[in-house]
C-alpha cells in the first residue's frame, strides 16, 4: 500500500462504531459525578478500541482547542454533546464546526455567553472566540471584542427545557448597529464567525493559526515557515476543510522526519491509552481517572480555556509519580493475566534450567508489546542496555530458573517498559 492509500484509510472513520454513550448518562438514578467518571472511562476505552483511532485523537484535539471544564458546565450530558460534535464534525469544515460549537450548552455556559444580554454584554466568549479559537492574540481590537459580545447577546440557554438547550431570545439580543472589524451593521453572533472565517485576511490568519496547532499536536512544536505555508495553503484552498489539511499534513515528508519522531512527549491520555492497549486492560477496570489529575490531564477538565500544553508540561516530579503509580497498578492487574510471562519460559528438557529468551530477546519482546519493535525502528540503545543489564542482574538473583519464582522479571519489566523514554515519547 502506498502512503496516500494508507493516509486515506486512517482518515476514513466509517468503520468506527457509533458513539453510544454510557447508559448512566441518562440514568436519573445517577449523579453527575458518577456520569462523568463513566464518560471519562468510556472515552478512554473508545480511544483504545476503535478501528480508526484518528477520529478519537482528533476529537481529543478539539477538546483541548475548544476547551470547556465540566466543573463549570456541571452536566455530563452537555460535555458529551460537545464531545459528540467534535467526533462527528471534527474532520469537516472548520467554520461549521465553530458555528455549532458556539451554540452548544457546554460552551455557552463555560464562557458566560449564557447570561450575555442586550445592554449588559459579557465579553468572555467574544474574546476567546478570537484569541483562542480562531485568530490568536493581537489579531483584533478591544472594540472588536465589545462589538462581538453585543452580537452574541441573546444566544443563551433555556433552563426551563429538559434537558436544557441552546435558545435564541430575540428580546435579549442587541439589534443596534455595531462596528466589527471596520464594518458597521446589525451583527449577529454567527455573522461574526462567518466574517472571521470566510473573509480575508482573517480567514488565512485563522487557517495558519489552526494549521500550526494541528502540526504541533500531531508532529512537533514550532514548525518551519515552509511547513506552515504548505498546511495553510491546503487549508485555505479547501475553504478550511479539516480533512484536507490533515491529509496534507500526514503526507508531508517532515511528518516522517526524526524531528517528528522525537518531537513530542506522550500526553497522559496518549500514554494511558498506549499502556491499556499493550496490556489488554480496560479503563473501565483500571480507573485511570484516579491518577489523571496529578498527571496533569483530566479529560473534560482542561486547566483553563486555553487547553493543555505539551512536552515539558508533562515532565515534572508530580506528574511522573502519578504515571509511575498508575503504571504499577496496571502492572499488577496485567500480571494477573500473565502479561510478559513469556519471558520467563524455559527451554525444553534437558535444558529446562535455561531461559528460552535471552535478556535481549526478552526486552525486545516487551518493547514490541508497547508498539516499539526494534526490528522495525531502532529503540534507544542506551535505554535498551539499561533494561538488559537490569534483567541480567534480576535473573542472577533468582538462582536456577526451574525452581524459583520468576514473576518479578515479568512484573518489573512491564512497569519499566511503560516508563522507558521510548514509550513515553509519542
Amino acid at each position: 500500500m502506498d502512503l496516500s492509500t494508507i493516509v486515506d484509510t486512517i482518515l476514513d472513520f466509517t468503520p468506527n462504531p457509533p458513539d453510544t454513550p454510557p447508559a448512566s448518562l441518562v440514568d436519573p438514578a445517577k449523579g453527575d459525578w458518577e456520569r462523568m467518571v463513566d464518560l471519562v472511562k468510556w472515552w478512554l476505552d473508545r480511544m483504545r478500541t476503535v478501528p480508526r483511532p484518528l477520529q478519537e485523537k482528533l476529537t481529543f484535539f478539539w477538546h483541548g482547542h475548544f476547551a470547556t471544564q465540566v466543573s463549570k458546565v456541571d452536566h455530563a450530558v452537555d460535555m458529551f454533546d460537545q464531545n459528540h460534535l467534535f467526533r462527528t464534525a471534527g474532520a469537516g469544515g472548520f467554520e461549521p464546526l465553530v458555528q455549532q460549537m458556539s451554540l452548544q450548552v457546554a460552551m455557552l455556559i463555560f464562557l458566560d455567553n449564557d447570561p450575555n444580554e442586550k445592554g449588559t454584554p459579557n465579553e468572555n466568549f467574544a474574546r476567546e472566540l478570537m484569541e483562542l479559537f480562531t485568530l490568536g492574540v493581537n489579531q483584533y481590537t478591544q472594540a472588536d471584542i465589545v462589538a462581538s459580545a453585543r452580537a452574541w447577546t441573546g444566544h443563551n440557554v433555556d433552563y426551563d427545557a429538559t434537558p436544557r438547550v441552546y435558545r435564541f431570545y430575540p428580546e435579549r439580543h442587541d439589534t443596534d448597529p455595531k462596528t466589527f472589524m471596520g464594518e458597521t451593521k446589525n451583527w449577529d453572533g454567527p455573522d461574526i464567525i462567518t466574517r472571521i472565517l470566510t473573509v480575508e485576511p482573517q480567514r488565512s490568519i485563522a487557517a495558519r493559526y489552526i494549521a500550526k496547532k494541528l502540526w504541533t499536536f500531531f508532529a512537533y512544536p514550532n514548525p518551519s515557515t515552509a511547513v506552515l505555508d504548505t498546511l495553510t495553503a491546503a487549508f485555505v484552498g479547501s475553504n478550511l476543510d479539516v480533512h484536507t489539511v490533515l491529509r496534507t499534513l500526514f503526507l508531508m515528508p517532515e511528518f516522517y522526519s526524526s524531528t517528528a519522531h522525537q518531537g513530542l512527549v506522550r500526553s497522559p491520555v496518549e500514554w494511558i491509552v498506549t499502556c491499556l492497549r499493550a496490556t489488554g486492560l480496560t479503563a473501565q477496570d483500571t480507573n485511570p481517572q484516579w491518577w489523571m489529575e496529578d498527571m496533569g490531564q483530566q479529560l473534560f477538565e482542561p486547566p483553563n480555556v486555553a487547553g493543555w500544553k505539551n512536552n515539558a508540561y508533562w515532565l515534572n516530579s508530580t506528574a511522573l509519580w502519578a504515571r509511575a503509580d498508575f503504571a504499577r497498578n496496571l502492572t499488577w492487574k496485567a500480571h494477573d493475566a500473565g502479561f510478559l510471562m513469556e519471558i520467563t519460559a524455559r527451554q525444553p528438557a534437558p535444558n529446562q534450567n535455561q531461559f528460552a529468551m535471552s535478556v535481549g530477546d526478552a526486552v525486545d519482546f516487551a518493547y514490541r508489546r508497547f508498539g516499539r519493535d526494534p526490528a522495525v525502528a531502532p529503540v534507544s540503545a542506551w535505554d535498551r542496555g539499561v533494561l538488559t543489564n537490569w534483567l541480567t542482574a534480576q535473573r542472577a538473583t533468582e538462582g536456577a530458573p526451574v525452581y524459583s519464582w520468576h514473576d518479578w522479571e515479568a512484573i518489573n519489566l512491564a512497569t519499566m517498559t511503560m516508563l522507558a523514554p521510548d514509550v513515553m515519547l509519542a
Binding site: D112, P115, E117, G119, T120, N122, E123, N124, R127, E131, L132, V137, N138, Q142, K213, P221, N222, S258, T259, Q262, V265, E293, D294, P303, N304, V305, A306, G307, W308, K309, N311, A312, Y313, L315, N316, S317, T318, L320, W321, A322, A324, D325, S380, W382, D383, V386, N389, W390, Q394, T397, W408, N412, T415, M416, L419, A420, P421, D422, M424, L425
Partner: protein, 449 residues
C-alpha cells in the same frame, strides 16, 4: 497558556530585541518558548541539572511564598473603597457595605471573608499595596499573566523568555544543578519560576505511596535504580527523551528527600493543603528559597458574590494555617505574597459578576513585613479612557522591594530596571537585623544563550 499563545506573546516581546542583554535570536527564543508559558523547560540547558537538592537556608536568608490568584481577582471587592459613593453606584448589587467590610483604614475595608487577614493587619504583619498594575494593560488572562510572570522592566513589552523568580534563582550559587531552590506545589511549573538555567521543581500535594519511596524490597530497589539510570547516558531520542530520563531519575531521588514533610494532618481545602505542605517543607529545611502555590476561581464573570467570598475565605484560612504550621524557628524568615493577572471592571455586569479589568491591590504578609497601606488606591472616580481603574504602583516595584530587601538580590539585574523600593519590610530575614541593603553578587544575566 498554550503554546500558540505563548509563541504569539513571545513574538510581541521580541519586538525590541536590542533590549535583550547579550541578545537572543528569535529562533532560540521560540525554541525556549516551545513548551508554553505555564511550563517552559528545555533540554540542553537542563542537561547539567544533576539532582533535586539545594544547600540549607541560612539564619538570615529569606524565603518567599507566592500565592497565585488565577483568573483575575476583583480588587475593589477585596480591598473595598467603602468611602467612595461612586463604588456603590457602579456596583448596586455587588458593592460590599461599609458596615460589613473589615476596616483597615479610613474608607478602606477588607472583604468580610478575610477575618484572619484583618487580624494580622491589625498586628502589623500585612502590607496592602494598592493600585498595582502596569501601563497599557492587557485584558487577556494569558497575556497579562505572562507579563506578571515575566516581570521584565528593561523595556516595555520586551524581555528575556524567563520569569522573574527564575532569574533570581539563576543568580544563586550552582543554580543549574540546584533544582530545589524553587518549588511549585502542583503539576506544572509556571513561567515566573523558570530562569535561563534554573528551573523550579514540581511537588505533589499528596505523596501517597509515591513510586521510589519504599526501597525495602531488593527487587523494587533494583528497578528504581535501573529506571534512574536511563539518564546516565544519552538516550539518542532527542531533548525530550533525555529530559524524560532525567526527570525520572530526579523524581526517584526526590522521593527519598521530601517524604517527612508529608506526614501529619492537613487542612481540607486545596490551597490550605498546599500552604501547609509548604510550611512543613520549610520546617524540613531542604534549601527551598521560593515556593509557588495557586488558587483558581477568580474569573468571576457571573455570580461573583458567593464565588469570590468562597475563594477569598479559602485564601484567608490557608494563610492562617500556613503560619500555624510553620515552626517558630522559621517565622521571621518567611514572607507570603499574593498576585493575580489583573483586577476587574469597576462596574458590575448584569450577571452579578465583573469582566476583566486592570489595577488591583495585593498582599505581602509575614512577621517581618511593616504592616499598613501602601501605594495609591485606584479610584472609581478616576478611570482611564476605557473606563478601567488606573494603576499607581508598577507591579515590578513590589518585586523590586521583595528582591532587594527580602531575597537580598539585585533587583536591577533581575528586573532589568531600577524600580526603587516601597519599604514593605521592617527588618531583613532572620534575627532583628535592620533592612539589608547588600545585594549579593548576581551572576550576569546571560539572557538565554
Amino acid at each position: 497558556m498554550n503554546e500558540e499563545l505563548f509563541d504569539d506573546l513571545a513574538l510581541d516581546r521580541l519586538s525590541r530585541p536590542a533590549h535583550f542583554p547579550g541578545g537572543v535570536s528569535r529562533r532560540r527564543f521560540l525554541q525556549l518558548a516551545g513548551a508554553g508559558a505555564g511550563a517552559v523547560a528545555v533540554g540542553p540547558l537542563l542537561s547539567t541539572l544533576r539532582s533535586y537538592a539545594a544547600p540549607p537556608v541560612g539564619a538570615s536568608d529569606g524565603i518567599l511564598v507566592l500565592v497565585m490568584m488565577e483568573g483575575g481577582n476583583d480588587g475593589l471587592n477585596t480591598v473595598v473603597p467603602t468611602g467612595e459613593s461612586r463604588y456603590y453606584t457602579l456596583r448596586p448589587s455587588l458593592g460590599i457595605p461599609a458596615a460589613t467590610a473589615l476596616s483597615v483604614g479610613a474608607g478602606v475595608g477588607l472583604h468580610p471573608a478575610m477575618p484572619n487577614m484583618k487580624a494580622r493587619f491589625d498586628r502589623g504583619d500585612v502590607a496592602i499595596v494598592q493600585g498595582v498594575g502596569y501601563a497599557n494593560p492587557d485584558l487577556s488572562h494569558f497575556s497579562s499573566m505572562g507579563i506578571w510572570m515575566n516581570g521584565w522592566g528593561g523595556a516595555a513589552q520586551s524581555g528575556p523568555p524567563t520569569g522573574w523568580i527564575g532569574r533570581y534563582l539563576d543568580g544563586l550559587p550552582n543554580a543549574a544543578a540546584e533544582s530545589l531552590y524553587g518549588v511549585v506545589v502542583g503539576t506544572s511549573v509556571p513561567l515566573h519560576m523558570v530562569g535561563s538555567v534554573a528551573r523550579a521543581s514540581g511537588l505533589p500535594t499528596d505523596l501517597g505511596g509515591a513510586f521510589g519511596i519504599d526501597r525495602r524490597d531488593p527487587n523494587d530497589a533494583r528497578m528504581f535504580d535501573a529506571l534512574g539510570s536511563f539518564s546516565s547516558g544519552a538516550t539518542g531520542l532527542g531533548q525530550w527523551g533525555d529530559l524524560t530520563a532525567k526527570i525520572e531519575h530526579d523524581t526517584l531521588d526526590l522521593a527519598q528527600k521530601i517524604q517527612p514533610a508529608y506526614q501529619g494532618t492537613f487542612p481540607s481545602t486545596n490551597l490550605g493543603r498546599e500552604l501547609t505542605l509548604v510550611a512543613k517543607l520549610i520546617n524540613t529545611n531542604l534549601g527551598i528559597r521560593v515556593f509557588n502555590t495557586s488558587i483558581g476561581g477568580f474569573d468571576t464573570h457571573s455570580g461573583q458574590a458567593g464565588n469570590q467570598a468562597a475563594q477569598l475565605g479559602e485564601l484567608d484560612a490557608a494563610i492562617e494555617s500556613f503560619f500555624t504550621a510553620l515552626s517558630p524557628a522559621w517565622q521571621s524568615r518567611v514572607t507570603v505574597m499574593t498576585f493575580s493577572e489583573f483586577g476587574r471592571r469597576p462596574e458590575e455586569n448584569t450577571d452579578a459578576g465583573t469582566d476583566h479589568g486592570t489595577a488591583a491591590p495585593l498582599f505581602v504578609v509575614g512577621p517581618r513585613v511593616k504592616g499598613g497601606l501602601y501605594g495609591t488606591p485606584s479610584r472609581t472616580t478616576d478611570l482611564d479612557g476605557n473606563g478601567n481603574l488606573k494603576f499607581h504602583v508598577d507591579f515590578r516595584q513590589v518585586y523590586a522591594t521583595v528582591l532587594d530587601t527580602w531575597l537580598k538580590a539585585d533587583s536591577r539585574q533581575v528586573l532589568g530596571y531600577n524600580f526603587g523600593g516601597l519599604g514593605l519590610f521592617d527588618g531583613g530575614p532572620g534575627g532583628g537585623s535592620p533592612p539589608v541593603n547588600r545585594p549579593h553578587r548576581h551572576r550576569r544575566l546571560r539572557a538565554v544563550v
